[in-house]
């Protein structure tokens, strides 16, 4: 019918304007949907923040070499001799005739959490100025870098934020030595901000690891040079290491934990969504019931069944979209930038912030809309099939 749209808009408008007559019921539906959206969004934002912290730490033109079979830095080992051999291989970039290579230690130390006073694992990285230069985007925000050969620490800003006693100037005991914090660095919120850095040689002696490292990092002449380096490593029996791009390494690390967070979030959100759906159905059936005479009157006047269906569905969608928006706004206000810690694959604390993005908001809103569509569909069918006779208030 030509006036179908007009009829639908009129009925939808009336239904939405009559929501205050069912205020508490409608409000509870909105709140239930808002909760679903907020919970889903918080999990998605958490997973996203974690992934971003991990994944953005990796560059495509940096190769990281670990012992064949090691799944993360902590269970890798590499010797000084192997590092020297890798430095001469094809694909490794050079500056001033010297290869851009960094052999690094990775040891686990203790920190005390600010929020709950519990001990947590922190990664201490033994590194050289070349190693720091191999990381893009590092910025010293306070103090300075450690002096090679001294017991000085430079720490990621997330460590300062989340753990006690890592401010510049503080001294602390790690391993068999006393250390002084001389600087704080920032790395755009990546997983590296959860690390402590000190001179590689000093860490080796403090932790009794002479001549051994965990990983070797090299700058590639270009990301395309990776296959050549991989081949060269594989061809040398003295080097029992495996090369991969830093980007791939971090992405792989992020997958497990980020996936776990999402795997928890979706079922929880869907169970809650089913609860909200029950509420939405209840609200909409009662809306149809209280509007019985109005619907019959409109039908008697000549309004169609399908516009009645659409108008009722529109009311449910309205409630769910309002609930969805409330949930998105609430989750964004509460969780955006919310800081959290979790164990990484290295068994050290990864400190990251929740990242609410427009894409995640859309995903959460789609869930709200689905709840509205289903919650409105069956009541809308009932509305469209309501008989006219006997519903007009006559005797």
């Amino acid at each position: 019918m030509a006036t179908f749209g007009r009829q639908s808009i009129a009925i939808a408008g009336m239904n939405i304007r009559s929501i205050p007559q069912r205020l508490w019921m409608s409000l509870s539906t909105v709140v239930a949907i808002a909760l679903v959206v907020a919970v889903l969004l918080s999990f998605l934002a958490m997973a996203n923040g974690f992934r971003k912290a991990q994944a953005s730490a990796g560059a495509a033109d940096i190769a990281i070499l670990m012992r064949d079979g090691a799944s993360s830095e902590i269970n890798s080992v590499a010797s000084r001799d192997q590092a020297a051999l890798v430095g001469e291989m094809t694909g490794v970039a050079r500056a001033g005739g010297k290869p851009l290579i960094s052999a690094e230690l990775f040891v686990i130390v203790d920190g005390t959490s600010r929020s709950n006073g519990l001990r947590g694992n922190l990664p201490l990285r033994g590194i050289t100025p070349t190693g720091i230069a191999l990381r893009h985007g590092i910025r010293i925000t306070e103090g300075r870098v450690f002096q090679p050969g001294t017991n000085e620490l430079v720490v990621g800003r997330a460590v300062v934020r989340e753990f006690v006693g890592f401010e510049v100037g503080k001294t602390l005991r790690l391993g068999q030595s006393t250390w002084t914090v001389v600087g704080v660095f920032e790395d755009g919120g990546t997983v590296r901000e959860s690390e402590l850095w000190a001179d590689a040689g000093v860490v080796q002696s403090a932790f009794d690891r002479q001549n051994f490292f965990q990983t070797i990092r090299v700058r590639l002449t270009s990301p395309a040079a990776l296959p050549a380096l991989k081949a060269a490593v594989a061809a040398d029996p003295r080097v029992q290491l495996l090369a991969q791009s830093e980007a791939d390494y971090f992405a792989e690390q992020a997958k497990a934990s980020g996936g776990l967070i999402q795997a928890l979030g979706w079922p929880l959100a869907i169970i809650m969504a089913i609860g909200a759906l029950a509420g939405a159905l209840n609200t909409m059936y009662s809306s149809v019931a209280t509007r019985g005479t109005e619907i019959a009157t409109l039908r008697a006047i000549g309004f169609g069944g399908f516009p009645t269906f659409v108008g009722t569905l529109a009311e449910a969608l309205f409630l769910s979209v309002v609930g969805g928006l409330v949930g998105v706004v609430a989750a964004s206000l509460i969780f955006q930038g919310f800081s959290a810690k979790t164990l990484s694959a290295n068994f050290t604390q990864v400190i990251f912030t929740f990242q609410v993005t427009p894409g995640l908001c859309v995903t959460a809103l789609i869930l709200a809309t689905v709840v509205g569509l289903i919650g409105g569909f069956f009541p809308a069918i009932r509305a469209a099939r309501l008989p006219i006779v006997g519903m007009l208030g006559d005797q």
Binding site: M1, R6, M14, A300, I301, L392, Q395
Partner: protein
Amino acid sequence: MSDFSFQLRKVSKRFVKGKETITIFDNLDLDIPAQDYVAIMGPSGSGKTTLLNVLGGIDQVTSGEVLFNGQRVDTLNEGQLSRWRAANVGFIFQFYNLMPVLTAAQNVELPLLLTKLGSKDRRRHVATALDLVGLGDRSKHYPREMSGGQQQRVAIARAIVSDPKVLLCDEPTGDLDRTTADEVLEILALLNREHSKTVIVVTHDPEAANHAKRTLHLNKGIFVERTKLA
């Protein structure tokens, strides 16, 4: 074209309730000429509302034929009936059945949403209809802000705004005091007299019947007619 609004031919209406069949009317014949003003009276449960619903195309007959202007109505499907109702009949109910969330003007506008009229034309028709029932100054009022009599006048404006030939009124004064009931009856008489509407009123109110040109008494499925003496 026939000059009859409605013609019922051997119309029967039965309800099946469990094992029982209730017959409301059996082989009923009725002619309502165009521009007639007929009151239908009868005891409660005698089938007055059912008859009005059959005439208005919102209830089906069990057998027989319903003709409007010589055309069968009882054979139309639901969509066709909706369109037929929108074009040809206006309903007036005992409890007004206004939409509480709409103003008087918005209530009156509803039937026009089923036409192709633009918003300017719709506003003009709404104003004319409200003026005709004497509520030109109440267009922005909501039903809850009006008396029963005023609400029924808004309902009449809604029934006539798309200019249908027939008004079907079910106990239109049943909820009103004498004075406001009389005002409403005056308007119906005016619509019949000056605007050539066919008016069919189901009522308990003898005064309402007095306004009509003739009164049909429905009892046990049969009509007894008493034509008013001029």
